[in-house]
């Protein structure tokens, strides 16, 4: 699936990078190169939501990034 939105850093737990989609959903970013992780960067991410994954961040579904492009 493809998700468009902006990259944000959330200061909860150990700190977590999230993608806030244009329709307002929050995804926890898993994987992807460090160049993806820039505060406020608008991107289109191609990846999969991992329904069987859980973690310490608990901010939303975990999105495993395959690729992305900066918009």
């Amino acid at each position: 699936m493809k998700v468009r939105g902006s990259v944000e850093f959330r200061d909860v737990e150990m700190g977590v990078w999230v993608l806030v989609s244009e329709d307002g959903r929050t995804y926890q970013i898993a994987g992807g190169r460090s160049s993806l992780l820039k505060e406020g960067q608008r991107v289109e991410v191609d990846g999969d939501v991992d329904d069987s994954a859980m973690g310490i961040a608990m901010v939303g579904p975990i999105l495993r990034v395959r690729s992305y492009r900066v918009m």
Binding site: R10, D11, V12, E13, M14, G15, T26, A30, D51, S52, A53, M54, G55, I56, A57, M58, V59, G60, P61, I62
Partner: protein, 590 residues
């Protein structure tokens, strides 16, 4: 004469239940010790003595006397500090006609244990839940607490190091489900931080303190270096912990995805006698994440040092309790401080301040360990004490659950195993009976006491308003731990569903409605002999529902808007009252 009886009965009973006592719990330390303050004394002048006269005495006696407080002007209580010879000064004072009493100043100190860990003063979170007072009662000795997380920095092994402040803390064997080894060390820092809040080595002169510092930690690693794991590993670890003697399971993790496998694992652990404590989630939304939302888990939300729900904390129908999780938006020092390893270098021990519902959860897990060590036998007893001892404004709410964790309150609540019976619904029903009888014509009106003392009416009336409250008490007294059936029968009928499925969260609108009396009334159309029974049941439901509406308790689940709850209760209460009225009349017609 009969109508007079009815009127008197109705008025006196209505009057009896008019004032509603405040439900706020005030926690006070169990006891205190007293010590004389050196070179200080207290003088109790006659009430209302002018301040000028106190100043004149101070000058005459050569004492730095000052009124103790603003209130001192009225009460006449003054103190003097820096007095060289207190006894001689008291001898001078006591002859004065305006002095009612004079004595050395005594400092009352609440019984509290203050650990010598140098960073303890920064742990506002432990003071918030009254740990210094609770430590006088329990340290959680011997209770096994499983930390199902990223591991714990508990040993020097390969590249891994032990956090110095954990040296001397008690551990039992754990497991690393991520790498399938017997060395569940931490390569993230999260699990060690959480474990520290539960059972950090305390009063050892270094670092920080932990809640249940004589508990034994069981490290179970289910999350990888990035803090992510699979529901399969987590479910495995939950069962492993329950099978290896853990009494408390701490799961500072979660996700939005439902997993039947994990839900069954949580139910299994609880059935094996373990309390399963889980983080509510950090999405800041009105939905608690899994596994916290499963029946059988204690869902923990987070508050900042101001006691307010933290902006990141999730909340909602499944929330059970709130505990300190920090709020760093309020500035530095407002997170939860613990010893752990550096998040960028797991070989480096650090003191770190984090915020999250993960940080709130181990406070509750730690207090659960204190409760087990203090004599609680079942998860049910622990949860009841946690909820009953919490600081709250009254009934359960979706943003605070049963209230804010209080370690001392929970330990004190544990001693009071039997919940007080709330008689108000029965009193409302009895008053309502008087009003209903008055509304009937004399010819079809039965006598007040004839109705009330008929066993066929009284039993369903008791069952639907207060339950067979004595059943559980008798069982505990003569048999032992009561079975679920006795627990259920000890509660009013509308609450049966809550104890079976919801453990005192929101009520079902079907149970809190006139549905049961209506079905019973239909049966009574066919079988006339049932009428006294249905009269008692309807009357009980009417009193229960109307009282619930008046007392604003509890929340009703599944209704689209919470403001509909009270109209729903009132409407159904009136329907039940009308059913009761028709049953009473028809019975009298025969």
């Amino acid at each position: 004469m009969r109508s007079l009886w009815c009127l008197l009965g109705a008025l006196s009973l209505a009057a009896a239940c008019a004032p509603q006592p405040a439900r706020n719990k005030v926690t006070t330390p169990g006891s205190a010790r007293a010590a004389a303050v050196p070179h200080a004394l207290v003088v109790d002048f006659r009430d209302g003595i002018p301040a000028g006269e106190v100043a004149e005495r101070a000058h005459r006696w050569g004492l730095p006397l000052r009124l103790n407080s603003v209130e001192g002007v009225r009460s006449g209580i003054a103190i003097a500090e820096g007095v060289d010879d207190v006894d001689a000064a008291l001898a001078r004072i006591k002859g004065d006609a305006d002095v009612e009493e004079a004595e050395p100043l005594v400092q009352m100190q609440a019984l509290a244990f203050t650990p010598n860990d140098p960073e303890f003063p920064k742990q506002w979170n432990l003071r918030m839940i009254h740990m210094p007072e609770a430590w006088e009662v329990s340290h959680g000795k011997g209770v096994v607490v499983a930390v199902i997380d990223t591991g714990i920095a508990y040993e020097d092994h390969d590249d891994y190091v032990q956090v110095p402040d954990l040296a001397g803390a008690r551990f039992v064997a754990g497991y690393d489900f991520v790498h399938d080894t017997d060395h569940p060390n931490d390569d993230n820092g999260h699990g060690t931080h959480v474990a520290g809040t539960i059972a950090q080595r305390t009063n050892n002169g270094i670092g920080v303190a932990g809640v249940a510092f004589e508990a034994r930690l069981m490290p179970l690693k289910v999350l990888d270096r990035s803090g992510i794991g699979t529901s399969a590993d987590i479910a495995d670890a939950i069962r492993w912990a329950a099978d290896h003697g853990a009494k408390v399971l701490n799961l500072s993790l979660g996700g939005p995805g439902y997993s039947a496998v994990m839900e069954r694992a949580v139910a299994y652990a609880r059935q094996r006698g373990a309390v399963v404590v889980c983080a509510a989630g950090n999405a800041g939304l009105g939905q608690v994440s899994y596994p916290a939302a499963y029946a059988g888990a204690v869902a923990v939300g987070a508050v900042g040092p101001d006691g307010q729900l933290a902006p990141y904390s999730s909340w909602g129908e499944a929330l059970d309790i709130i505990a300190p999780g920090g709020n760093t938006r309020l500035g530095p020092g407002n997170g939860i401080l613990q010893a752990t390893i550096d998040r960028t270098d797991f070989r480096k021990p650090v003191l770190a301040e984090y915020q999250g519902t993960s940080m709130a959860t181990p406070h509750v897990a730690g207090v659960a360990a204190l409760l087990f060590a203090a004599g609680a036998r079942t998860p049910d007893e622990v949860e009841k004490a946690l909820f009953a001892g919490a600081q709250s404004e009254g009934a359960w709410t979706p943003r605070a659950g049963h209230g804010r964790l209080d370690a001392l309150g929970a330990l004190q609540a544990l001693g009071k195993s039997a919940e007080p019976v709330d008689w108000a619904p029965l009193i409302w029903s009895a008053a309502l009976l008087g009003l209903l009888l008055l509304s009937l014509k004399v010819k079809v009106r039965p006598g007040y006491l004839n109705v009330l003392l008929n066993p066929a009416t009284l039993l369903p009336l008791l069952l639907s308003t207060v339950g067979l409250w004595f059943l559980k008490l008798l069982w505990q007294r003569f048999v032992g731990h009561p079975p679920a059936a006795a627990e259920v029968l000890s509660l009013p009928i509308p609450d049966w569903e809550r104890i079976l499925f919801g453990r005192g969260r929101l009520a079902s609108p079907l149970m809190y409605s006139a549905l049961a009396p209506a079905i019973a009334a239909l049966l009574a159309v066919r079988w006339r002999a049932l009428r006294p029974v249905v009269a008692g049941l309807s009357l009980g439901f009417a009193g229960f529902l109307l009282y619930a509406a008046w007392a604003k308790a509890p929340g009703i689940a599944y209704l689209p808007f919470t403001f509909l709850a009270r109209p729903w209760l009132v409407l159904n209460g009136i329907v039940a009252a009308l059913l009761a009225r028709s049953m009473l009349r028809r019975e009298a017609r025969r």
